[in-house]
């Protein structure tokens, strides 16, 4: 009951900017905001799952995001471009190169996540202070490593040919890649919900969120499940990084920190550990950022902090956070 009220309120607030904005730019901004929200969701979802099950606030998530961007978005697309698939390939080749980039981003994120979990995080379970300090250290080191392996400056990222440009539906201009982002984001949300609610792994994860010891008593190796979940979260971050850098058409080593802050805001707004909450939070942040940037460009930076403060005043544990 309470959750449905939240949904109704959220949809109602969606139409408030219409007071100042005309219909056509409003729709353009809404699609842009939705796409932006999906990018944020891709980062925040992994973070919130990891926090929910493992009780780890993983600030290194930004680093996994950056690795996805550099490996998937930058490296693979450059490689495929030498085959002539990316900048001037057919529609099929564009799709395949996007898929390859995304899967490379996911694999890269998952691999680094695996090393991170096994090597470092495993030793600091249960100690929040140490976890936060170590993960921000990891973010710092990986940012520097990226500067060593690639370049410390911003680099252009290629966009597959058939994803460039935009559709024009009754004067409403919709970027093709934004549409792809929305589709990927919604598919990811549906996929996560499906895995959590319909599979055995999801059942174990949900049980682990409720009570970790009881899952162990039932005979499941919680350490292995932790590794799998951490890798899955890292892969989600990697996909987010790949998509984000194609959207921005450039990568910088600071990409990780910049998006970590957005992801933190989304996770706080949505409620720590709730995937639906972070989906909702991501859409709120994405939309409000776009509307604010259109109406008052100077205020756009502060609007997210403002929204976060308001929501925390009303619901101190976030929209869908557990009491």
């Amino acid at each position: 009951m309470k959750k449905s009220i939240i949904w109704v309120c959220a949809i109602g607030i969606l139409f408030i900017p219409l007071i100042w904005i005309k219909w056509t730019p409003y729709l353009v901004l809404t699609t842009a905001g939705l796409a932006f929200g999906m990018f944020l969701f891709m980062v925040a979802s992994g973070m919130t799952i990891i926090f929910g099950l493992m009780d780890i606030l993983n600030l290194a998530h930004g680093a996994l995001f950056a690795i996805g961007a550099y490996l998937g978005g930058y490296q693979i697309l450059n490689l495929l471009n030498t085959l002539g698939w990316v900048e001037n390939g057919t529609a099929g080749q564009s799709m395949v190169s996007l898929l390859l980039a995304i899967s490379m981003g996911a694999v890269g994120g998952a691999l680094v996540g695996f090393i991170l979990e096994r090597l470092i995080l495993r030793r600091v379970y249960g100690d929040h202070l140490k976890q936060i300090m170590i993960t921000i250290g990891v973010l710092y080191v990986i940012t520097e490593l990226i500067k060593i392996l690639w370049k410390p400056t911003a680099e252009p990222v290629l966009v597959p040919l058939s994803l460039q440009g935009s559709y024009d539906v009754f004067d409403v201009i919709i970027g093709k890649f934004r549409l792809v982002a929305i589709i990927v984001g919604v598919a990811m949300f549906a996929g996560i919900q499906l895995v959590l609610n319909r599979t055995k792994l999801g059942l174990i994860i949900r049980a682990g969120v409720e009570n970790r010891e009881m899952v162990q008593v039932a005979g499941y190796n919680i350490g292995r499940i932790f590794t799998v979940v951490f890798m899955a979260g890292a892969a989600l971050a990697g996909i987010g990084g790949t998509m984000w850098c194609i959207f921005q058409q450039q990568v910088t080593p600071e990409i990780g920190l910049d998006n970590l802050i957005f992801a933190l805001i989304v996770v706080i707004i949505g409620g720590m550990g709730s995937v639906t909450g972070s989906f909702l939070g991501a859409i709120i942040v994405g939309l409000s950022f776009n509307y604010a940037a259109f109406l008052w460009p100077k205020l756009a930076l502060g609007i997210n902090i403002l929204i976060m403060a308001t929501i925390l005043l009303i619901r101190p544990r976030g929209l869908m956070g557990k009491e």
């Binding site: 606030l57 300090m133 490593l145």
Partner: protein, 361 residues
């Protein structure tokens, strides 16, 4: 004189005979004599060590004594530095009034920001505090980078200082010794930082400081004894943050230049954390050792790495690895947290306590 008073007097007197107080006096004397060394680099290092000792000690108050992990400490530092820079820059010809005003603005801003941060985040979980302070700190970092009309953006602000602090000025002649403005600034910073450090020590040893440690060690028990957690955490946060902004104030006095990356950057929190953990959490004096270690390494490590890289002219990857010396700090940070969490002073204290216990046995 009553016996109790006599006892207290005796105790007061014995404080000055302890080895630790001799070290303190020697340290201050050494810092007073530093300007005699004819190397600017040494003086620059000494100033940075003093400033960061104070900043890290105030961070130790928040992290080590209160148990709150704040990512906004660099932000408060930046608020202090920017308040000096902006007031002196925008006033055209700065006067002493502007410096006093800058100090008041810095303190007021940091108190208000700390209160806002505390009211929004401390009521729920400690983990929220870390996340919210990170978000707020990044907001100020972006503000410093993008509000070009006020902060001049990423170029940073170069400004002149009034009176004897102005480097183009004459300085003072005193008993035939000419003190340059640099040296006078050095002594001013020495005076302020020693005062602030003593203030911090007093705060930790005050009743409020004792309660803070009690809350950190066992919150349930101290609330049962009637101490309220929330106000005490606020005292500590507000006090520590104000001291940090004064650190930024001194930093701006010394460099006469601020830019968003060096004073507001979120990653400089990793430096602070490294300093406080190497020194030892919850020890106060550890911050001096941590800052001294960090600043010394930071000054000499780039040269050392460049020297090593010069021996391998053919390999580009080694040149790049030598350029990114900050990465080694990051690795060191992770290793220190994992294997050496008590820090230098913490470990030393543990050994001394063990020896005392053995002696009693």
């Amino acid at each position: 004189m009553t016996p109790v008073q006599k006892e207290r007097w005796q105790e007061q007197k014995s404080i000055y005979k302890r080895p630790s107080s001799i070290i303190q006096v020697a340290l201050v004397l050494g810092l007073i004599l530093i300007p005699l060394v004819p190397s600017f680099r040494v003086m620059d290092m000494a100033v940075k060590i003093m400033i960061f000792s104070v900043v890290v000690a105030s961070y130790d108050l928040i992290l080590g004594f209160t148990g709150l992990l704040s990512f906004a400490h660099a932000m408060f530092f930046g608020v202090g530095a920017y308040s000096v820079a902006l007031l002196c820059y925008h006033s055209g010809s700065p006067h002493w009034v502007h410096l006093v005003l800058a100090m008041i603005v810095a303190l007021a801003m940091s108190v208000i920001l700390a209160l806002i941060l505390a009211f929004f985040s401390l009521r729920t979980k400690a983990i929220f505090f870390a996340m919210l302070s990170l978000a707020l700190a990044d907001f100020f970092h972006i503000l410093g980078r993008s509000w070009r009309a006020l902060t001049l953006g990423e170029d940073g602000v170069t400004f002149t200082l009034p009176g004897f602090l102005n480097v183009q000025g004459q300085g003072w002649s005193f008993l035939g010794v000419n003190l340059s403005p640099r040296v006078l600034t050095y002594y001013l910073i020495l005076l302020i930082s020693v005062t602030l450090f003593i203030l911090l020590l007093r705060f930790v040893k005050s009743p409020v400081g004792r309660v803070l440690q009690a809350i950190r060690d066992n919150e349930q028990r101290s609330t049962a004894l009637g101490f309220k957690t929330f106000p005490h955490q606020i005292y500590s946060l507000v006090f520590g943050s104000s001291i940090s902004s004064m650190g930024g104030f001194m930093f701006a006095l010394w460099l006469r230049y601020v830019d968003p990356e060096s004073v507001l950057g979120v990653f400089s929190m990793v430096d602070y954390l490294l300093m406080v953990i190497i020194g030892g959490l919850g020890t106060m004096y550890g911050s001096i050792i941590g800052a001294a270690f960090f600043i010394t390494v930071q000054t000499w490590l780039p040269d050392l790495l460049r020297g090593i890289a010069a021996n391998f002219p053919g390999y580009e990857i080694i040149q790049r690895m030598a350029d990114r010396w900050m990465a080694y700090f990051g690795v060191m940070f992770i290793v220190v947290i994992m294997v050496f969490p008590k820090g230098i002073v913490g470990t030393a204290q543990k050994i001394i306590r063990q020896r005392l216990l053995d002696a009693v046995k």
